[in-house]
């Protein structure tokens, strides 16, 4: 047995810290919560404001542009139709708006942070263990403080999703920046590129395929968080799954799960299609 006299807990300190944070910065957190909530509700309204058949047409057209393949073009539209068929349309849009906001935040912070990692070894050393922790720490652990600071509902869900979804895009941005061929960079420097020009004209554009792969991964990670987010009352398809689990309602659970998978497939195929389209003529 581990000797008892060495027992020491950080738990009370962490609890005190979160309490302190809540008491002193409460109004700041409230302001953040409110603005996020407004944003997400607006996006939700836009998503629901567009009629369902317009969505299906849009997705089909986009798929056609990207694939030029009959099956791959029709499939996303048909899958989307099944969501509506199961009566989950507005719930799915609710989930989608949550994912959109989280991914937007993740890209907004993750891509610049990834670039910083790619440029500086020191930043890289600092961020790498943080990203490891973000990916392996069970999400419930940060869901608790997120709930305390941001209340119940969608906003703690966004925060938790953000934490879980940021690492892929940040890592792949870092990787992309680092993988840019040294001889191309050397030539650019020899022709008088400043560090900023080198980043804007050479490193960033050449890292873009890797960064877009990161965006795709981040979106997938965000979608996989919906059930956990539902536990803090973020709503959406996750809630349907939770309800079905509580009632041991296999059929209902399958329908909600199916809708999540459909969203994931559509987003994945369309975003990957755009990546390939972008890479197409150049590599």
């Amino acid at each position: 047995m581990f000797p008892e006299q060495f027992n020491f807990h950080v738990a009370p300190y962490i609890k005190n810290f979160v309490d302190w944070l809540y008491l002193t910065c409460g109004s700041a957190f409230d302001a953040f919560t409110n603005s996020m909530l407004t944003l997400i509700l607006n996006i939700d309204a836009v998503l629901l404001g567009v009629p369902w058949w317009v969505w299906i047409i849009l997705v089909t057209l986009l798929a056609w542009r990207l694939t030029h393949n009959v099956v791959k073009t029709l499939l996303p539209g048909v899958l989307l139709f099944t969501i509506g068929m199961f009566g989950l349309w507005s719930i799915a849009m609710e989930t989608l708006s949550l994912v959109i906001v989280s991914v937007f935040l993740a890209l907004l912070l993750g891509i610049p942070a990834g670039i910083a990692m790619g440029v500086s070894d020191r930043v890289n050393t600092v961020f790498t263990p943080v990203l490891d922790a973000m990916q392996t720490m069970p999400s419930f652990v940060y869901l608790i403080p997120a709930m305390m600071l941001f209340g119940l509902g969608k906003v703690p869900g966004i925060v938790a999703t953000f934490i879980y979804a940021v690492p892929p895009v940040q890592r792949l941005t870092n990787l992309g920046i680092r993988q840019v061929s040294a001889s191309v960079q050397e030539a650019a420097i020899a022709f008088g590129a400043t560090p900023w020009q080198l980043m804007r004209e050479v490193r960033f554009p050449l890292a873009l395929p890797s960064i877009l792969a990161g965006v795709n991964q981040t979106t997938m990670m965000a979608l996989s968080m919906v059930v956990i987010c539902a536990m803090v009352a973020a709503g959406g398809l996750g809630e349907e799954v939770l309800l079905a689990v509580n009632r041991i309602d296999v059929g209902r659970g399958f329908e909600a799960g199916w809708a999540i998978v459909v969203l994931a497939i559509i987003i994945d195929r369309l975003s990957q299609g755009s990546v390939n389209k972008w890479e197409g003529p150049r590599s």
């Binding site: 191309v184 050397e186 420097i189 020899a190 022709f191």
Partner: protein, 303 residues
């Protein structure tokens, strides 16, 4: 300011590569002490001067320090000691801003691995240096097209580099250097990656351009034939030092030591085998009698 008759002056240039945790004491090297363990002297006390319009070839085997040397001239690799002056301006003393300006306007470089931007078209690649300088779109395109015409690539302006053969990619590299309008051209083994026929073609092309443009060139190569064809003067480099410097003719006639001898010998045998020497003869006609005179001796000493 421009009192010197030389366009490029390199004086006592040193570059020492250090292993981790080792510190450089330049004074020790300058006073002639032995090399410190874990430090590699890539360029050792190299000096040379070039007049406007001269083609200077630096020849050596890989690892002889020639690529490091040419990079030191633009400070792509920072030299540890010595001076590089271009048109009387001390490049080694420049601040970052001045150095950037210098790289944009006074010198241009052609690389062995081309260093073209894969996500830009041929035209955009050639215009890249002008873009960095802030030249506007229309003007940029006009000047890039002029340079592409000089290297005969007008038909390929909208293609991406990967669609081009190695020789054509290097033509893009040359056009990109020409468009800078710099007097000094640095060429780091530009034709080494090309097959022999294309290499020959590119050498001719370069000679043709040079007759027209009269640039000052530093040309790095490991190929004696290339050196003979292109160089007004040349230096043979080994382990960071210039073992011999002079006209190509001097070097073939009077190799100073075994290293140069071997170089000249091996290359000459290849040249004789492939019959390329006839070409070299027509370029450096004075060399001919001596080469044929020495032939028997070399063959006897060879195998």
């Amino acid at each position: 300011m421009e009192s010197s008759p030389y366009l490029l002056e390199v004086e006592r240039l040193w570059k020492v590569f250090l292993e981790k945790n080792s510190t450089l004491h330049m004074e020790d090297y300058l006073s002639g002490s032995d090399d410190v363990k874990g430090q590699v002297v890539a360029v050792r006390d190299v000096s040379f001067k070039l007049k406007q319009g001269e083609v200077y070839v630096i020849m050596g085997l890989s690892g002889s320090g020639k690529s490091t040397l040419i990079r030191c001239l633009l400070r792509l690799i920072e030299p540890d000691y010595g001076q590089v002056r271009v048109k009387g301006r001390d490049v080694t003393a420049m601040g970052l801003k001045e150095l950037t300006e210098f790289r944009r306007t006074q010198a241009a470089m052609v690389f062995q691995h081309y260093g073209l931007l894969p996500h830009r078209t041929v035209l955009e690649n050639v215009a890249f240096g002008l873009k960095l300088q802030g030249v506007k779109g229309k003007e940029r395109e006009k000047r890039a097209l002029e340079a592409l015409e000089k290297v005969g690539l007008l038909k390929w302006t909208q293609h991406y580099p990967e669609h081009l053969s190695g020789g054509m990619q290097q033509r893009v590299g040359i056009a990109r250097a020409l468009v800078q309008n710099a007097d000094l051209l640095l060429l780091d083994e530009p034709f080494s990656g090309l097959d022999p026929l294309i290499r020959r073609e590119m050498q001719d092309e370069l000679l043709r351009l040079q007759a027209d443009l009269q640039k000052t060139m530093v040309f790095v190569t490991h190929d004696l034939n290339e050196a003979l064809r292109l160089g007004d003067r040349m230096a043979v480099m080994n382990r960071g030092i210039f073992v011999q410097e002079g006209t190509p003719r001097d070097i073939v006639m009077n190799p100073v030591d075994e290293y140069v001898q071997r170089f000249v010998h091996d290359e000459r045998q290849v040249a004789l085998l492939t019959g390329e020497m006839a070409e070299a003869r027509s370029k450096v006609s004075n060399v001919t009698p001596l080469i044929s005179g020495k032939k028997g001796k070399i063959a006897a000493g060879g195998e």
